[in-house]
Every structure is written in structure tokens, then in C-alpha cells.
Amino acid sequence: MEQPARVPLTSIYRVFFEIGLFSFGGGLVPWIYRDVVEMRKWMTKEDFLPGIALSQVMPGVSSTNCAIYVGQMLRGAPGALTALLAMLTAPFICALVAAWAYKWLLGLPGFQETMIGVAAAAIGMLLRTGIESARMTTKGLAPMIIIAGTFVAVGVLRLPIVPVVAIVGPISVALAWRKSAPPSKPEASNPDSSNPEAGA
């Protein structure tokens, strides 16, 4: 990685602290892009884009994953740690205040009755996210079976999630690999990336 100038850790902290402070309801990765690539020009678009896919594929929250990626590209391990901590500072303090306030809130008349409405709305939002992502998932029978199988294993049979993911994950990725035939992928223009044997 060639950097035009070393970005100070304090600047990294300030930028990601602000993003964390105003974070509500997600959609932060585009914000990070705007701040880091367009406004400050700390990174090129070409260097940033792989980070979007990485932060979505990896477990964890995509926005904090993206912050780690940017921090790492800018300043290595100290940069990654700084970006992560900066991103979490304000939300963590909010969480502490909320956790502390919870037992007082319980004393308010109607608090729990009202919170069940908030929870139900949030569950509805999750349900919609699930339906949307199931729709966007590559068409075909295999992904549908993966979705249904994972749901039944973890949600109905209550099997431990780690072994389920360890078994279903590789199968699902292998199926997706087989399906992504090299010639149909325009990005894979580099001849090294097409492996005819594995695709057959």
C-alpha cells in the first residue's frame, strides 16, 4: 500500500468517533465512504471498494468491520484499533447509560407494555430484512434449501449455532463457487482467476 501522507491516528479517531456518534439505524458504510474517500481523500475508491464486500461477508457489524478495514489500510494495526474504538465510543457510552437506566425505566407505569410495541416493530423490521435478503439471494433451489435448513436447525431444533455454521457455511459457499462459472463474471477478467477445473 502506498500512502501519499500518513494519516494521524487522532484524525482517524475523530472521523470514526463522529460517524459512531450519529449512527442510527445503519447505512453507515456509504457514510464512511463519503468521509474517507470523497471528502478527505485518505484512500482511493479502488482501495476502498474491496472493504465493502469484506465488511459484509465477515461476521460482525458491517460498519465497524469497514472501519477496521479503513484503519488497517491507513495505519496498520494501530489504525484498525483506533477506528474500531472510535466507532464504538459513543454507542458504548449510550449502552451503559441505557443499561443503568433500565431498572428505573421499569418503574414507569406502562413501560414494559410500551416496549413490547417497540420490540414488535423492531422484529418486523428484522423480518423484512430477512425477506429482502432471501429475495436477493441467488436464484435457485440450493440457496432456498440453505435458508430453510439453517432456520430449522437453529430456530426450531435449537441446535448449537457454531457447528451448524461450520457445516452449512462451507457447503453453501462451495455451491455458490460451482455456480459462479468463470466466463460469466466480467470482473474476473484476469486470466489467472479463472480456474476451469474447479468450475466444472
Binding site: G20, L49, P50, G51, A53, P59, G60, V61, S62, S63, T64, N65, Y69, A80, A90, P91, F92, A95, L96, A99, W100, Y102, E113, T114, M115, I116, G117, V118, A120, A121, A122, G124, M125, L127, R128, G130, E132, S133, A134, M136, T137, P143, I147, T150, F151, V154, G155, V156, P160, V162, V165, V168, G169, S172, V173, A174, K185, A188, S193, S194
Partner: protein, 179 residues
């Protein structure tokens, strides 16, 4: 400070960090099972309350773990749960970051993305059912869940806060009427 419970928080939450595809939304089912049914750190009702609070707080939904940690062991529990939910997945991102950016646009990026998406969706549905089961005392919460999901698909541009406030308002009114 009880060291044993802090260790237990880490041992239970850290593995979930590594399977939290798409953030907290994929681990609600195992979190509920572990913290309510097995460890009894929170009651079913508290779990649902804290879930709701975690969705109206600024910041990632993963800080739900922080709230559970607080209920289990106070401030040190909150800190330990936060470390446990962030450290493993963050180390993974950090470890993979350079390799990933060097081999960009390759076929395995797509395969990983396409392969993990249905897995994440299945886990998310497991979480939805787990949470809905906790919320379903009466028809009203179920009606809200379905209505919000339907409305958001019909009007995707509406800000989520309207739905959270709307759900709260409906249930508060029902409470006032039923009192």
C-alpha cells in the same frame, strides 16, 4: 467482582461473534437460548426489553450484548460482553483484510458473498421466530410485526424510527385503554 461469571460471559458470547453474519441479527436465537434458558442472566421479558432498547439506541445492534452483560454482572459484565462480541470478528476482519484487498474482484469474493447470504438469512429468520415467541402475549405484537414488515416492503423509503415510535404508541394506547 465475580471473575467466574466474566469468564463465562466471554466463553458464551465470543463464539457467537464469529457467526454473527450481518451483525447481531443472526445470533438472537442462540443468545436467547444461552442467556435466558441456560444461564438465567435475564428473564424472557428482560431479554425482549433490552432487545427493544438496543434497537432504539444509536450504534450497532450488537451492543445488545453489552446490555445483557450489564444485567449479568454490572459494569464489568458490560465491558466483558462488549469485548467478547467485538474482538473475535474484528480480529478476523483484520487478519483477512490485506489478503482480501490484494485479490480483489476474484471469483471467491463472489462465492463467499453468495454462499454466506442464505446462511445469514436463515439465521435471521431463526432470530425473528425466537423473538416473536417472546413477544407474543396476545395478538397485538404479532399484528405489529406483520404490519411493520409489510409496510416497510411497501414503502421502503420511510425512516425506521416511524415504525418504532408507531409500535410504541399503539401498545401504549392499548395499555391505557386496558387499564
Amino acid at each position: 467482582m465475580n471473575i467466574e461469571i466474566l469468564i463465562r460471559i466471554f466463553v458464551i458470547v465470543a463464539p457467537l461473534s464469529l457467526v454473527s453474519f450481518g451483525g447481531a441479527s443472526s445470533i438472537y436465537a442462540p443468545l436467547q437460548h444461552q442467556t435466558v434458558d441456560i444461564q438465567h442472566w435475564v428473564t424472557a421479558r428482560e431479554f425482549l426489553d433490552l432487545f427493544a432498547i438496543s434497537r432504539v439506541m444509536p450504534g450497532p445492534g450488537s451492543l445488545f450484548a453489552t446490555l445483557i452483560g450489564w444485567q449479568a454482572a454490572g459494569l464489568s459484565g458490560a465491558i466483558m460482553a462488549s469485548i467478547a462480541i467485538y474482538l473475535p470478528s474484528s480480529l478476523l476482519v483484520f487478519g483477512v483484510g490485506h489478503v482480501w484487498s490484494r485479490y480483489r474482484g476474484r471469483r471467491w469474493h463472489t462465492a463467499l458473498q453468495d454462499g454466506l447470504a442464505p446462511l445469514g438469512a436463515g439465521l435471521l429468520f431463526a432470530g425473528v421466530v425466537t423473538l416473536a415467541r417472546l413477544a407474543s402475549d396476545g395478538i397485538l405484537p404479532i399484528a405489529i410485526i406483520v404490519a411493520v414488515a409489510g409496510l416497510m416492503m411497501w414503502r421502503p423509503k420511510l425512516h425506521p424510527v416511524y415504525f418504532l415510535v408507531g409500535g410504541a404508541a399503539v401498545c401504549f394506547l392499548a395499555y391505557l385503554i386496558g387499564r
